[in-house]
Symmetry: C2
Amino acid sequence: MADINSKFDIGVTTGPIRGSKKVHVGPLGVAMREIALEGGEAPVRVYDTSGPYTDSDAQIDIRKGLPQLRREWQIARGDVEEYTAREVKPEDNGQLGPDRSGGVPAFPNVRKTVLRAKPGGNISQMHYAKRGIITPEMEYVAERENLGRERIARELDGNSWGAEIPEYVTPEFVRDELARGRAIIPSNVNHPEAEPMAIGRNFLVKINANIGNSAVASDVASEVDKMVWSIRWGADTVMDLSTGRNIHDTREWIIRNSPVPIGTVPIYQALEKVGGIAEDLTWEIFRDTLIEQAEQGVDYFTIHAGVRLPYIPMTAKRVTGIVSRGGSIMAKWCLAHHKESFLYERFDEITEIMKAYDIAYSLGDGLRPGSIADANDEAQFAELYTLGELTKRAWEQDVQVMIEGPGHVPMHKIKENMDKQLEACGEAPFYTLGPLVTDIAPGYDHITSGIGAAQIGWYGTAMLCYVTPKEHLGLPDRDDVKVGVVTYKLAAHAADLAKGHPAAKVRDDALSKARFEFRWRDQFNLSLDPDTAEQYHDQTLPAEGAKTAHFCSMCGPKFCSMKITQEVRDFAAKQNSDSYLAATAPVEDAEEGMGEMAAKYRDGGDLYVSADD
Amino acid sequence: MADINSKFDIGVTTGPIRGSKKVHVGPLGVAMREIALEGGEAPVRVYDTSGPYTDSDAQIDIRKGLPQLRREWQIARGDVEEYTAREVKPEDNGQLGPDRSGGVPAFPNVRKTVLRAKPGGNISQMHYAKRGIITPEMEYVAERENLGRERIARELDGNSWGAEIPEYVTPEFVRDELARGRAIIPSNVNHPEAEPMAIGRNFLVKINANIGNSAVASDVASEVDKMVWSIRWGADTVMDLSTGRNIHDTREWIIRNSPVPIGTVPIYQALEKVGGIAEDLTWEIFRDTLIEQAEQGVDYFTIHAGVRLPYIPMTAKRVTGIVSRGGSIMAKWCLAHHKESFLYERFDEITEIMKAYDIAYSLGDGLRPGSIADANDEAQFAELYTLGELTKRAWEQDVQVMIEGPGHVPMHKIKENMDKQLEACGEAPFYTLGPLVTDIAPGYDHITSGIGAAQIGWYGTAMLCYVTPKEHLGLPDRDDVKVGVVTYKLAAHAADLAKGHPAAKVRDDALSKARFEFRWRDQFNLSLDPDTAEQYHDQTLPAEGAKTAHFCSMCGPKFCSMKITQEVRDFAAKQNSDSYLAATAPVEDAEEGMGEMAAKYRDGGDLYVSADD
């Protein structure tokens, strides 16, 4: 692990996750992680978001940035122009300009020229998809979603609530999902370092990690480290929610070194440019901020265009009013000027910018509920239906869209959120924050929200925005980021299992088999967090021998259910249990069927029917 | 906090949870916790499982044990006899007898005489209930479940999946639920220290914490401390799953000092008495163990009587076979002797013992699935239907019953477990372990199981058995116990909210209001773990001033959505938003309704309709 203490030495964690190695699959060399197993078991391939940082062959230089994986594909399409980027202004780093004392050097390797669509053009993946073009990005996604599976039939076990998950993902399937707006591939032309990934209800459920410094804490070194750390454990996208000073420079460091799509909330930076006074925001300042971030390579923008003037008073009677930062900024602007939101009024102009760089919309839920009491109320759904209206307007220009969702919602009201979103937004991908299923556990809100996230992920949410243990209390540190990411990975995986994703169960089965066979190292290595799993094991049984022991600390050597089960298995095998099993009644009338068997036994009959009978 | 380091000094954590005090409500002085709030807000009463340990007026002497709250009630019924307890045998502490070197002194204040029903009598709460008798235990439970609420109408918001949750709990309602077998009050006559509590689908969802030493680790001091620690954070019952040596003495220390019902798995101790050789178990040794534990005061016994000989081969093809310790012991015994389980054969004799002491059955799910792959299979449901058959046999003798459930189950298969249990077991309370919704997160299984627990609790499970971060890896320490308990408290509370329990939402609303009004201390004190909440807050903003600051570290002073919302609220109030709200369209046609409003605005009409118009 590199040193991350010195403020000006931007160090990050590199090297493979224990027990696994990076492999590159298919003609495009799609990156995956392969976990080697003991006892002659076949290795298991898992979805890998960590980029070159876990590739032992890769050379990492944070000051240079990552290789430009997608650059050739972009140029080859012949529909982009190169031009000189907008000059960085002092206020891009906050009203007072950059603060070099705070541990924020400017990125040394800024590109002077950037790309955009040729005049009047559209380079969005949705645009290509609608014209029947399968891009390398789509091919990459198809390979990636298959986790390197061969095209083999797999029993589909699950309830997908109407999703149309294919047994095998083809590039054509990806294209069709993009064309229908049911999935997006966030891919700003100026972020060629990103490995293509899809967000959609018919693909693996994704998770997002939020990072970013604030007015009161944090510096660029730790934010870059958090980005690399969060993708190491499985973050599929990262949002830079920085506020205060140094926003521009921090974002440059993050994007140039990020193999996953980066999202932002541009209104945050615009607000900094006007010294934090919401009323002083103007369309011109906001538009200039969009261009600034588009040229840096932000892959999706959260735009709170659904916070309309008429909806604002609907929040007045709420227990927690408006809890979305962007939402409250726009609410204040609307009330102060007594005008409709300029984000709503200028929506089509914003869309023009999005399509020139292929930036995806993440339509913000500025009126999401901030408490159980406010869930599913009038303000929330009024905004949702407006987001549906805006989705269709963006689609008219072939711009990719996802929809942000709550928030705080009790379990019995979660499904209504999914159902209304599917109906209002034409199946555009849903991207929810949790939801938290109770308000009473600050310090444990990664769990209260993980419960809601697993459920809404099962119902159809395409990406889950993580929540850390520090939610409502403070800024997450490195450990909080890891706990948040792992919690959301397990929630997303639980959703994939319940939806019946063909590839999901492979890893559970491999881990459980390892557990049953006391392959401790395999059990650790197959887990989402091998280091923690081994550390917990060693706290009770540190001896290296215990790693191969056929018992564990819960029962001890004499008293092991798994060991006894093996004896049961051997015994049953001896007794032709197969023919016995065939003879037993189905579960439905198990009681009766078993009663018969027991009676048969009591009458002195053989317990097991020999195969020869 | 008392010293818990010295092996022979059995110290425990005492004193009130911060920000709250113990109150005693009603004629029976039912213990509750009252959280004081700032800003003139009324205090909030919460369900309290912590016993005298959090009562600043209580004198705690672990060597004496707790006061005998229920003793008078028991004697007053005039149906019990006092007799000399069975002599403690060396093998009661394991085949080699007690190990005094291991930090296990004998309890100094053992009762020489114990109670049981007069010959042929039945002192179970179910027996009284069926005869129309309302006991003090039932009255205590009614008061406790109401959380000190007055009888006031409350909007019932939730989906209880067919449960019949009353708006207000009366003693007669408790009696009726017990008589119907839909709820139990575990209350061994020899555990008069216990505060009565109910486990049933129409009451608050309860949680259980497992403690106990094993053959390879732990000592009595830390187990007693863990018991007190687990109830401090909200464990409603505690199971002592000790194995290895010192089982009898450890249990005595725990029961004498426990204000919550204690459960055990007697087969564990019986196995120790025969040196861990399952085949050597006999009905006589098992029966003697039941009497031994009945006289000590164990409130419920896990009995794996559903693991029948014919079902065992059904587990042979499983990925993880039999993972229940009790289940595997009985499976081995059945196969070794080629006989039906003596627990099944002798079930009615066991019931005779249960009713003489009022011990409740916790019918064990010895064939529960140990992996996603084995969920809801033939073996699991075959056993469940047998547990249903046994439930009815126990009810014929008016003995209280609950049913244990899985385990490892993917989300889409959870509800089937609840539905089948309700059908097979006549609505006897369901008591599940999790379930874990994926196998791939060892080290985080409190979360994978908390997700399943919240869901099955919502569907109708009456008590959730906690899982700690050490599950599958090692023995939980003090910190693991707390994390496990808090995780399950929030899952149980989320279930109460979703079921629409009348008292559940009060605490969420109070905390959210405190959050919105920046009453930081109230937010901490209302949370399930005030200490952790404050500690996380202080990591970013340590200054005491920040406790009253009208902003937090996420946004900083200038950038606070809650602050902005207050301005929105003031503004809207000024503008007669009420009459405006009345004029807006319902959510269903929000888009249209809002469109009209916006149009009205664009046409130059006033945004807000004055109340005078």
